[in-house]
Symmetry: C2
Subunit: 218 residues, 2 copies
DNA sequence: ATTAATTTTTTGGTTAACCAAAAATAATAA
DNA sequence: TTATTATTTTTGGTTAACCAAAAAATTAAT
């Protein structure tokens, strides 16, 4: 098995199991990796042989500790590159993911070390996602979804859970970017849509969008 | 045929044909690409079908104009990355080649544009090799080998033709780096070894090493 | 508890990129 | 020019990563 294929499987298993070692099933993996379930069955068997996952037939797959270590490392590389592309090369936060998807597979530890160093060892990427350190440790945070903030409260945008270009461009248009301070003006009882104040302007946000914005209360 | 494989073949054909469209044979390609000749035969047939090379059975292979265009583009990407790694991230000129060998395959034109821009659109990489522009044009230069410089003459180191770590480390030790000004003190008749002055110190250089150092007379 | 729907696995098959060994061709030396 | 050597091609075979369709197993719905 090629290292790029292994890395993509491990990373996807990691994301689907939400960081924990929750069991992931073939259908989910097949959808994310854009292959058919039969391909996944084959792959997870091999990853099991490599002791990177524990695959239980007809039940599901979870990462072993060495698989998890590898996954965290790929996530680190991905997010370091995203941060680098955004902060040093001036790419938009909607452009970095696609490029990082390739760059994350470059195998050179010193390279990631140098990039991290140049960036001042950042703990969060341009989407607000935490960057694991060299040991795989992730900075804990007590962020909540914008949809959970109460009316009149103040908060600060810390991240997003939807990385699609359309969503990110929409946020940018309303200046709803990482670090922006906002105040909840009203919450509509009918559909949970929110009107908030950001940069002194009123912005209306649907409940669907509010579910995808991560904030820290202040 | 996968794009990375194609790119590696085209780049190697380009280098072996020395920029011109000299015919390259299978043995040379096999050696450089570390595969056996049978594999090369298969590959060049496919590249021929893709109209990237002209392959004449039992004779040899040369790039078509579209193959040449692609090759130049890969060389550009490789050398831009090398320059970036050296100038922006502080990698040594002996370290950059290996990493660039992977980075050159990242497919994103805007990325190369941004890197080039940040570097001030350099025309030469850390080894003194010319960087083709977006159109594939290479800056002409009238550099000569150190072994061709006459005694008492002054010159400036502009590049190397041997990229091996051992050679580059040897040069660095004697401060024989790109841009260094040197003066030829003596040339030994017996073995063509040279004694030159660099940074006020005498350095003895074998004729073999002098063949691998590119200079500009001043 | 059956039936129906979904998910998973098996089986058989493809393509890209490689290799080893044998056969064919070309180049070089005697 | 023949013999020897080197290079190239052919043939047959492997492995990784995929898919389609059928069969088996699991889960959900009636
Ligand atoms: Mn991303
Ligand atoms: Mn991200
Ligand atoms: Mn190089
Ligand atoms: Mn170079």
């Amino acid at each position: 098995m090629q290292s790029e294929t292994i890395e993509n499987y491990l990373k996807t298993i990691y994301h689907l199991s939400a960081g924990n070692s929750t069991i992931v099933n073939n259908k989910q993996l097949a959808d994310k990796l854009k292959v058919i379930p039969a391909t996944v069955t084959e792959a997870v068997k091999k990853l099991h042989d490599l002791k990177l996952v524990i695959y239980e037939k007809s039940y599901g797959t979870r990462l072993t500790s060495s698989g998890s270590k590898m996954a965290l490392n790929i996530v680190r590389r991905h997010r370091i590159w995203e941060t680098y592309l955004a902060n040093e090369l001036g790419f938009g936060w909607d452009e970095v993911h696609e490029i990082a998807e390739e760059l994350e597979h470059i195998k050179n530890d010193k390279l990631i070390k140098k990039l991290s160093e140049k960036l001042g060892h950042p703990n969060f990427d341009p989407h607000g996602d935490p960057i694991p350190d060299e040991k795989g440790k992730i900075q804990k945070s007590n962020f909540i979804k914008l949809s959970e903030v109460k009316v009149k409260h103040h908060c600060k945008i810390m991240g997003v859970t939807d990385h699609s270009t359309t969503f990110l461009k929409y946020l940018e248009k309303h200046e709803l970017i990482i670090g922006a301070s906002i105040t909840i003006k009203t919450i509509e009882d009918f559909d949970n849509s929110i009107v908030l104040v950001c940069q002194k302007k009123d912005v209306s946000v649907s409940s669907k969008a509010a579910e995808c914005i991560i904030v820290e209360t202040i």
